[in-house]
Structures are given as C-alpha cells and as structure tokens.
Symmetry: C2
Subunit: 419 residues, 2 copies
Amino acid sequence: MNKRLTSEEKTAILATERERLARYKAMGLKLDMSRGKPCSEQLDLSMGLFDQITSNTEIKGVQDYRNYGITDGIPELKRIFQELINVDENELIVAGNSSLNLMYDTLQRAMQFGVCGGEPFNKQGKIKWLCPVPGYDRHFSVTEVFGIEMINVPINPEGVDMDEVERLVKDDDTIKGMWCVPKYSNPQGIVYSENTVKRLAALKPKAKDFRIYWDDAYMVHTLTDEGDTLTDILAEAKKLGNEDIVYMFGSTSKITFAGAGVAFIAGSAKNISEIKARMFIQTIGPNKINQLAHALFLKDTKNIAALMRAHKDILKPKFDAVIEILEEELSGLASWINPRGGYFISCELPSGTAAKTVALAKDAGVIFTPAGSTYPYKKDPSDSNLRIAPTLPPIDELKTAMRVFCAAAKIAYLEKELT
Amino acid sequence: MNKRLTSEEKTAILATERERLARYKAMGLKLDMSRGKPCSEQLDLSMGLFDQITSNTEIKGVQDYRNYGITDGIPELKRIFQELINVDENELIVAGNSSLNLMYDTLQRAMQFGVCGGEPFNKQGKIKWLCPVPGYDRHFSVTEVFGIEMINVPINPEGVDMDEVERLVKDDDTIKGMWCVPKYSNPQGIVYSENTVKRLAALKPKAKDFRIYWDDAYMVHTLTDEGDTLTDILAEAKKLGNEDIVYMFGSTSKITFAGAGVAFIAGSAKNISEIKARMFIQTIGPNKINQLAHALFLKDTKNIAALMRAHKDILKPKFDAVIEILEEELSGLASWINPRGGYFISCELPSGTAAKTVALAKDAGVIFTPAGSTYPYKKDPSDSNLRIAPTLPPIDELKTAMRVFCAAAKIAYLEKELT
C-alpha cells in the first residue's frame, strides 16, 4: 500500500479494510500467533528419541545414569555439543531442558555471589545491561526482575551497533552485561557479522565482571540450503586472551522437543569451573536419562544437520507464505527482513500503529505478540515493531492470520492518518 | 565392646583389631559407603517407566506435552502427588528432577526478592537458620553458601527440641527458616511425632517471612510392613490459619530414578502462587515428557505403595546386616537407632573418635561419609556422629565394609584411651 494516497483514496481503503476485517471477525477465528513454538510436524521428527531407551536398555556409560551424580552432563552428550559449538570438555555444562533457566540462574549467581571473585552485583548499587533492540522479551524480563537498568542499543544489519556498545562499556563500570542472539536474531533473523563478533570478542569493558550472554538459540536453525556461519566468539576471544568475556547458551528446544530437550552453557574453563562449583550446591545434577536419549538420538553434528533440514522443509513454506502476503499487502507501508533462519519475522509498521494493529487483530480473533514485547520494559519507543511467529499454525491458518494482520495494520495506519 | 576393660585388655584388643584391619587393607578393597544412593536392583524396579512413551505414543493431555508451556507441571502427575501429600491443585508445583534444586531456588528467591512482600533477605543484614542436628549435609551447604548463620537445634526421639525452637524464634526476627526432614530423618530415621508437627504447624516466629523447609524426602520410604504416618503439617497449619509457615518438598529420586525423577514443592496457595509467578520468569517449564512417563508409570498412590514395598524387600536385609554387625561388635561402645525407614543408620561413637574412624576405614579402602558432615559447617562438636549408608553396595560388600567400620571404630577409641 502506497502512503502517498489522497484522503479520499485513504478513506475508501479504510472502509474496504474494515469490511474485510469484519468478515474475518464473523468467522469466529481463534488463532494464536504469539509464541515461537515448533509445530506438531516438527515435534514428530524427534519421536524416535522416545525409542532410544526402553526397559531392555542396559543403561551404562561412565556410571549408571539412572542414579545420582554428574553435575555437568554425561560425556556422550557433551561430546556432541563440544563438536557442534567447538568447545572443550571443561568449557561446557549440559543441563536440564531450559536454556532460559541457565541464563536466569547465571545472572542470579552473579547478583548473589559476583563473577569470578568480583563483588556480588547485589552489593554494587545500580547496575545496567545492554539490550540490542528489538530483542527477545524473556531476556528482558530476566534483567527486569533483578532491577537491572536496561539500555537499548540499536540492532543493525551487521548485528548490533558496535560503536555504541564500545562507547558505553568503555568508561561505565556499572554496565555488567549484554544480551545477544547472534544468529538469526529474535525477532529480525539477523546474523552477527564476522566484524561484529570479533569486536565483541575483543570487548574490554571497564567492569571486569561484565559478561556477554550469547544466546545461540538458533545455531542450526536455518531456512536455507546453504545455511550461515556465525564467527566463533569464544575462539576469537581466546586469541586475545579475553575468553572470560562471554557465556554461551543454547538448547535442543527447537531441535528435538521444546518441552523436553536439553540445554547447555559454555565458556572459558575458568567461567565454567566457577559455575559448576556453584551448581553442585544447587542441584543433584541434570536428568541424565534424557541426556542419554538425546545422545543416542542426535548421534553427531551431521545427523543434527539432517534433522534441521527436515525442520526447514516444514518451516520454509510458512515463512514464504508470510513474506508473500506482507509483500502483496504492506509493501510501501511497512518493512521487514526476509530471514534466512530462526523463528520469527520482524515487521516494522508506521510509527504509533503497532499496538493498535495487535488490538484490532485480537478483536478479530487472532493473537499476535503484544506490541512493545520486543523492547525492554515492553516499551517500543516508536510503537512500530511487531514480531510474527509463523512456525506453530498450520499454513492455512497462518495465511488467514496474516490477512487479518495486514488488514489490521492498514486500518491502524489509516485511522491514524485520517484523524 | 565393653568400655570397662583394663589397660592390658585394651592393649590386647587394639593389637587384634589393628591386625584385622591390616588384613582388610591387604584385600585391596575399594568400597564407597558415603552416599545414600539407591542400588541397581532398586533402579531396575522402575525400568518399565522407559516403556511408557514410545514413538507410537500419542502425546496428549491438556496440551501437546512435547511443546513449551505449563510452569507448574502436568495435571496427570499433579493429581498423583495431590493425593499422596494431600494438597490441592493450586498448592503444588511439580518440576524437574531435583528437590534440592527447588529448595535452593526457593531460598535464593527469598534472598533476592523476599518472601510474600517482605524485604529481600539480602537486605536484612545477618540472618539465621535453625538446623536440627544431626542432619542432611546438602541442606547445610545451601544455607552456608548464602552466608546464613546456622544454629544447631538438638534432634530428639519426638523429632526436634520444640521448646528450643519456640524459644529461639519467638523474639529473634533474624531467624528466617528451619530445615526439617520430618519422616525417617537423615541420618537417624526419626519420625516427627504428632505433637512436634502440631507445634511446628502452630509456630509463630517473630519474623513474618520465616518458613519451615519441610523436606519430606522419605515420605513413602518405609522399611517395615506397616509403615509410619507423619502428621500432615499443612493441614494442621490450615486449621490455625497459619498455612504460610511451611514449604513442603519431595521427589521420586528414591522411588523411580535418582538421576531422572520428578520433584515437587507444595504449600499454601499464597506461597505457591508467589513461587509460580517467579518461576515463570526463570524457566520455560519442566520436562513434561518425563512427567507424563512418571504419571503413566506411577499411576496412583496404591501403586506407589506397592513399588515401595519392592524397594523395602531389597533394602531391609541390608539394614538388618548393618544393625546385626553393629550389635555384635560395638554394643557398649557406640549407640544407634534401628530405623523404620529412610536411607541411613546414624551411629554415635565415643566422643572424639569419628574423624579417626573414617580415616582408618579410608586407609583400609572403605569410604564413609566424612565425620562432621551431619552438622552445619561440617563441625560435629563432639566428633562422634557418623552416617552409614547401607543402600548402594551389594550385601556382601556391605558386610565387609561394616567389619572395617567396626574395627576402625574400636581402634580409634582404644588409641584415644591408651594415649
């Protein structure tokens, strides 16, 4: 839709779109596009995991995995992740099913106990955190509950505005960390460039207890045949003797099962050994049987790549359908990036229309992620960014939901223009 | 062994026991009696759990449990625990595989955020905790890492010295909580009496944010046919409008698998709703597939009781063997309680001989739980209490280990007497 229309033309389109939205509303839709959940067909890909261990399986490894012990995960599974993310055995902990849980706990430990000998964050007064925006709402919720002041840093096609990051951390030792989703970023699908990763690996913040929380949530979640390569931040940091700068996180939530996967934290031997010692007090260790089932099912990185191609075959048509409808309906009005991986499409609507768009869609029976969710404190300064999650719904529902989205976006824009 | 022997008699026995221990040492034993782990035969009892879910299982319930969602556990499993511990749906969270993790996280939340609107413990200056002794080392490690001052309270045959507990909490609002293992206590196997539980349920500490951490680790872990009934602390507290006083914890670590079970926290609706809201920020939720497998395998409380009888049939001969050897060798020298359930036998040696006993046994190739472990800060004021864990070793090894234990205990005592 072209923005350079006469008022009359706009009024006419508004009437048409309102009529169209009313027709959708009359259909009694109940669609939920709000979360980046895998769909049933994707979950079906890993059902074989449930056959790996039966009552006839002899559970053996370095010990009986049915029993207590092993804080950092079983070696059979660690080996697979070691290869996947290029770390050594002592640079990795494989834990339970939630990488969010690992990030939260890691920050909580820093709050309570400090980082590598530093004062507990709780005792350092007001502290701050860098938040590339738009970003992942659940990251922001974690820093928010700890009362950490969040500073927006713009994301750009290279990943994140590194001039701004370097400028901010250079002199301010109250800035203690930074969220990053470096590959197929949530929500825009941007892959951090080699230059960006190298500058992050070389970061020398004034605060010695500053850490990059590197949430590699979509490390193998490509939507193309060729995939993308993310520069290895830990390897780059090691070259500079700066390897304590980063904690890396990831999980199989969108490789095997979102409700029953395995998650990891990785980093320098020093960082990991500190975390392991604290985890030993916190827990008896992870569910090792689920870890063993994952090791047997995932086998190796080559097999993981094959599994991810099967995910791609399911997801690509859904992403294509969303992009096609956006291009058909919102070209000239909104902008978006066609992602090469990840779970989202980020749509930039005209300023001041995102919340209204979501409200109109909701009224017509389609739930989108609330406006503002992609920003700290749920405050999108320009009320323009919306996150579209195409993965969960069947493709027909997805198309219907996107038609509702486009009608709502146009109405929100036109109502604003015409009043 | 009688303590009223002449020096000559003692010297003779010492020589004999040293010779005996040397013979054991020459056998090159490598036995570990240190932890309360279930043995292989016990773990075999639950292998059927691994057949509950296969690639042919249609995973359905209130939602697709393979996907994200449900912070407090799936209803199928919650119903079983609700019946087992007599709580409502909104008084229970079923989580991952470690109740220790739930206890740690609950205390960490209190440190960081406070309890039901109270100031964060972190901001209240020095705080204290009541620790019935002897007790569970991993409880004490948790309170220790948070820098909480631990106060020993004597355990007695009724459970715990309630006069002392009531006296301490009445006027001191820096005392914020208390560890309890109310049934078959670790390590003595004591069951808190009805009177003790009722007094705890009625406790009115000066600190409004005081909580009893009720670790019902051995709720169904009986070694007798008739079992024991623990008075329901939450029900008693409700009668008095005092239901926020207690958090209850438990797990299936010693019902199904120590490395792959499910754990819960229960309490008043108010307590649980506060915890659930905070957990929602912390994690994407528990492994629901393992929860479903547990629900299908455990079925109901009657079936759990049958499973626990099978555990008892494996464990009872081991406990009997330990008691028999203790009676044969250490009567008159040491004391112990023959437990009706739980995982341990607590042995009270002559003062100042426990550490030496463990060292001598270790030198002969048998590892026992370190002396002092059953006390806060690993400091047993009389260096007399040792925890014997009979469950893991095969019975022949157990008998050998106990012979070594008895020889070591006698040597430690006699060496002390004779120098």
